[in-house]
């Protein structure tokens, strides 16, 4: 795969581009996600990794530890006890990191929204980049979500200050 926007200069063997372009190209091309299937959406998550959909051709592969992961896919409801677990896992991931809220439960609480123990959306707990609606979303929808995440990464810049969980907590506190 060729990095985008590389200028061909008269000088041989020299390529000119921006740091942002190179970094973003590298980041979006190897989105390793955390194996973190907390509900039934994880079935689609498994499916999308298998040979029929083969997410690996986009550089998206599952990692079993948050230390090696770039993307957290929240594939289900978050309840009281999962709040802390989710945040610890999120903080264990190295920057830069992104979060995909997969399915109605992670987006808003879904059909369990009225439950006594259900957090109404993963964005109350960690900063979410991409929301994928559906119950569950089809594998194509998850792939589309990854494409959208790649677009988002392309538009980022190294100059941007990343939102920390502490910032996020302040934002959440405003809503509660």
């Amino acid at each position: 795969m060729t990095p985008p926007h590389i200028s061909d200069t008269p000088m041989p063997k020299v390529l000119l581009t921006t740091v942002d372009n190179v970094f973003n190209w590298a980041r979006k091309s190897s989105l390793w996600f955390l194996t973190f299937g907390i509900a039934c959406c994880a079935i689609e998550l498994i499916s999308v990794n298998m040979s029929r959909y083969d997410l690996e051709r986009f550089g998206v592969i599952p990692r079993a530890t948050p230390r090696q992961a770039d993307v957290m896919i929240i594939a289900g409801n978050i309840n009281k006890k999962m709040v802390e677990v989710t945040q610890v896992l999120y903080e264990q991931m190295a920057d830069p990191k992104w979060v995909i809220a997969m399915g109605a439960c992670a987006v808003s609480g879904g059909v369990f929204q009225e439950g006594y123990n259900v957090v109404k959306g993963a964005d109350k707990v960690v900063p979410v980049d991409i929301y994928i609606p559906g119950c569950h979303p089809r594998p194509e929808a998850l792939m589309h979500g990854f494409m959208k995440l790649q677009e988002k990464i392309e538009s980022e810049s190294l100059k941007d200050r990343r939102m920390t969980l502490a910032d996020r907590r302040i934002e959440i506190a405003k809503h509660v």
């Binding site: 009281k80 006890k81 709040v83 802390e84 006594y116 957090v119 509660v176």
Partner: protein, 156 residues
């Protein structure tokens, strides 16, 4: 044992413990017993009537009481029996049946956390699924959702 015999056994059980018998639409005998005699009732039902499987312990929220319902099964002839006992909504308690049916352990823990009933003598009276500091008893009809968001995200 035929249905008739089971009916007789249920009637006997009710008479012995000053309870009552009702039959549900699916033909199950429901024996309501006083909550104070739950330990003895459980032993009689397990050892004399041979109901060896406890499917479930559930709760019902009535306006003036919490009803604990024990769903029992006899594997020898595939008959079912339901035991019911009412306790107070206000700090109600009932003896545990865990020594009689080991499976009651988690069922009672769940019933306790959801309905606010104490099972006296339970070997492990912690909450089962809910967080330790969960406010109130969520399956009671008067439990309110209103402040739950701030609780759920209290340390988020």
């Amino acid at each position: 044992m035929s249905d008739m015999d089971l009916n007789k056994a249920a009637e006997e059980l009710a008479t012995r413990f000053q309870g009552s018998v009702a039959t549900t639409a699916d033909g199950k005998f429901n024996v309501t017993v006083p909550s104070e005699s739950m330990t003895e009732v459980a032993e009689v039902v397990r050892n004399e009537m041979n109901f060896d499987l406890l499917h479930d312990v559930s709760g019902l929220d009535h306006p003036d009481s919490i009803e604990i319902v024990y769903h029992l099964y006899r594997t020898s002839d595939h008959n079912a029996l339901v035991l019911r006992a009412s306790v107070s909504r206000d700090g109600g308690s009932i003896a545990t049946v865990t020594p009689v049916w080991v499976t009651a352990n988690w069922h009672e823990r769940e019933t306790a956390e959801l309905y606010g009933v104490e099972f006296i003598g339970h070997p492990d009276p912690r909450k089962l699924l809910l967080a330790d500091d969960f406010p109130g008893f969520p399956l009671r009809k008067d439990w309110s959702h209103d402040d739950i968001d701030s609780y759920l995200l209290s340390d988020a």
